[in-house]
Subunit: 303 residues, 2 copies
């Protein structure tokens, strides 16, 4: 399968490398890492075993990649204004366009320029970061949950899931993309923003009872708003939150991506993780006052 | 009048110096600045004109000061566990004990060890900071509002106000200490904490509409809780908030004390400015959910 990777940060590089190693024809649009990878290949430091790809198909322009069967988008959402122009040269009528970006609004944005039937979304449970140019570090997890924007199981969706599984990336399909996106937000909304704002890790927030209670209370807000969306079965708040907190307790010292973005002076993914979910909540007559306050506090000083 | 200054940071040094310059017999309990002031005196850099006090009565132990007519307390409230022991050696039966500390709870704490009739509270509108040892900088304002803990106007209260006025410190009395404390909290609660948490100045928060709205909304919460306390006349929220925001707009680039405490790695005055006001609100069946969230976020990582 001919695959194009748009947004080859830690996520795009890791999944692209896994797919190439499994024998797929993968094409990477690169910025920072172009020189390093083009001359020396990519080193993947993974909890599942390190490996090197001595040669990768690297590009500095999407036009040079040409049409592919599958576009995999790992772009940070604050670069979404570029997304259509980057995907256009890769997308034929049969191309599947899969966004693994954070938060809400990414599939809808793609559906404004492409056939909505072509668009899929995925939630990546991946703990990874970039090292030096030409390196990527896979630190934990890696599984993906996939769904069609149209909200039904399709053969194509299953084929893509099989492709990831065959490449060593656990992947399951869902017939309710809206629900799985909101499920992820139940974690991302409190932890990404609170860690970015306070400079404290997931572990710090959980060990301090006043912030642990705040995290749980914000999770309740998000679930109440999620259950007002068009999802097939409601999320059962108490057991879901217990499971999330238990899972988070195992992430010793974890710094969510937004915390790292802030530490490194990058923009924050506020639209995808806060503004659009808040808007969807309002449209469904749900309120998320604590989420709203967090969004306001994160937004000061951002553009 | 024999006056003892406990807590000679920027506030204690500035007011003590003004009182000494006007001819009062002022005694300073010093820590950081003892050596510098004892050998070379104090330099006051003031918007109203610089001056030097070549000699000051400096002490390293409260016991050495002995009894005074007026104790003036400028201690940071996170050192309140020491306050009784520091004031005890200075307090005779006729001694007036005036706390100019931030927030709530300070007068009540003093009233647990001294006669409640001896205790006064004051709100200082002072913009000052310490420079090098032996220096203090008076950057703006300086006026004081004074009241008896017992909540009535007394001759003594007026005498202390006159003392400040005669020393060039505008000072007015109030017969409602609870109200003037809460009035100050309407400003301190949003701005101190939000600036400390975000690292942004008062001006930054006001120029960004989402945080400006948050500030106003928190002011509404505080006023609603204030109006549930035993105060003589309620605070009229809308005009009061308009006036506060207008006043704040003139404080270009201002960093509230809590923001500076956080930048310099000192503890924050969370009990006086958040925990006790939240408790008083709860006792009066008022809720301050945004204030509560801010308090939780400030408390993580504090002791």
């Amino acid at each position: 399968m001919r695959i194009g990777i748009i947004g080859a940060g830690a996520l795009g590089l890791y999944y692209g490398a896994m797919l190439q190693r499994a024998g797929n024809d993968v094409h990477f649009l690169l910025r920072r890492d172009f020189e390093a990878i083009n001359s020396k290949g990519l080193k993947v430091y993974s909890i599942n075993g390190n490996f090197t790809l001595p040669e990768m198909k690297c590009y500095q322009s999407a036009t040079d990649i040409g049409k592919v069967d599958l576009v995999l988008i790992g772009l940070k959402t604050f670069s979404n204004r570029d997304i259509i122009n980057l995907v256009l040269p890769l997308a034929g009528h049969e191309t599947a366009i899969l966004t693994l970006q954070n938060g809400l609004g990414n599939e809808d944005l793609l559906a404004t320029a492409f056939n909505a039937e072509q668009v899929l979304g995925g939630i990546a449970f991946l703990c990874s970061n970039r090292g030096e140019p030409g390196e990527v570090h896979h630190l934990g997890e890696g599984r993906i949950r996939l769904g069609e924007l149209a909200g039904k199981k399709t053969e194509r969706c299953q084929r893509i899931a099989d492709l990831f599984c065959a490449a060593g990336v656990p992947c399951e399909t869902s017939d309710d993309l809206t629900r799985i996106r909101w499920e992820k937000l139940v974690w991302n909304i409190p932890f990404n923003g609170l860690c970015a704002l306070t400079g404290k890790t997931v572990t710090d927030l959980l060990h301090h009872p006043p912030t642990r209670q705040l995290v749980a209370s914000m999770m309740h807000e998000v679930i109440a708003a999620a259950n007002q969306q068009r999802i097939k079965t409601p999320i059962d708040a108490d057991p879901f939150i217990s499971r999330m907190l238990e899972m988070s307790a195992a992430m010793t010292g974890y710094q969510p991506s937004m915390m790292i973005d802030r530490i490194e002076g990058r923009p924050l993914e506020l639209d995808a993780i806060y503004a659009i979910p808040l808007q969807r909540a309002t449209e469904a007559e749900a309120v998320m006052p604590q989420v709203d306050m967090l969004h306001r506090l994160l937004s000061v000083g951002e553009n």
